[in-house]
Homo-oligomer: 242 residues x 2
Amino acid sequence: MTYCVGLLLKAGVVLLADTRTNAGLDNIATFRKLFTFEAPGERVVAIMTAGSLSVTQTTLARLTDAAEDPDADERTSILKAPTMLKVAELIGATLADVRAEVSEKLDRMKQSASATMIVAGQRRGGPMRLFLVYPEGNFIEATADTPYLQIGEHKYGKPILDRVITPDTSIAEAQKAVLLSMDSTLRSNLSVGMPLDLAVIEAGTHAVTSQRRIEAADEGFARMSRAWSDALRDAFQKIEAV
Amino acid sequence: MTYCVGLLLKAGVVLLADTRTNAGLDNIATFRKLFTFEAPGERVVAIMTAGSLSVTQTTLARLTDAAEDPDADERTSILKAPTMLKVAELIGATLADVRAEVSEKLDRMKQSASATMIVAGQRRGGPMRLFLVYPEGNFIEATADTPYLQIGEHKYGKPILDRVITPDTSIAEAQKAVLLSMDSTLRSNLSVGMPLDLAVIEAGTHAVTSQRRIEAADEGFARMSRAWSDALRDAFQKIEAV
């Protein structure tokens, strides 16, 4: 499993992904699920992935190859596509093709493979956008009504987002919110695991503002997790019973 | 869908169930999912249900018929079975039989039906016990390590239980916890709905201590829900960012 969450704020996007992959509970590993592509000052695209690793790796590899190809054009490269909508379409088409190819191979074993992705980014002259791309290549987009998108194990970490996130939330508060949303998920689902990848793209910069890995031993994250547990217990004590 | 939760405390058991059933999003209805059986001073058994309504209603009807039968004996009646373990086995066997019969009918339409149940109770001379009965009739039991059991949509309401419930939690605090756990679930899953049924069985009384329905317009529940939202937002503000 996986948990990735992306917030679309007026100030920019905040993205957080775990890194655990598993093929059965007895076979777990760490793989990056958050990827960024930049033409600094011109365009930035971030992708987070959930689902079958063979599908997500091949999709990312094809997108990377296409973007690095000297003959790349606006129909083949996510760094050259004319709008973020076209970027989402290109990623969706690539994902759908790879998923179909892999599933065709697996069909002989009566199995199939699938994946979903969150795509965020901004090109010079356009707004910051945040998409959730489905395995079939179609997608939905975050709006002011629902300014966040999640893939993977989304349920445990949803209540906190519903309560604190609006488009006006600051980048600092938003980072806190996605980390606490992840904390609830880590506590409840073994197939979501540390380390975490956290990225921020401030609106109008057309570049990755910050990106860091939070390791399992991270003191700050552990302190925040304890403080949140304590705060929840305190808040619970203060609520009057019905 | 459904959300039912039962807590096994030293002080007794606290049970909460929603009442929404649906056959598609465009066909919702209200049906009780919490049922109590009493031989006051001798024994009390409570059952909460999730799953196909045709399976749960028929199972409850058979258990009720068997308990009311003047010829009922300890092999047929949950009010006469010698231990709570035997009660759970009897409920499991009845559920498994009904599920198999209904699924046999549905098989011609390539469909199947299923249900799970939470069973709580105490007989004179025995401890209070809390079981989760699976569709196949087997079951697990709550222990001091994990003093609660959930059926239906369990994810949204789990973090609060993990943080505040221990076997030493008081009945009053436990009622608050299950209501807040339900509140998180109601906010996030449309197929879980008001009104709610809340029951308490204090240890050693062998009777239902209290049972009440909380309607959608309940002022106290609405106030608690708002207070919890406010408390969470306050707690969030006070957490230091990593």
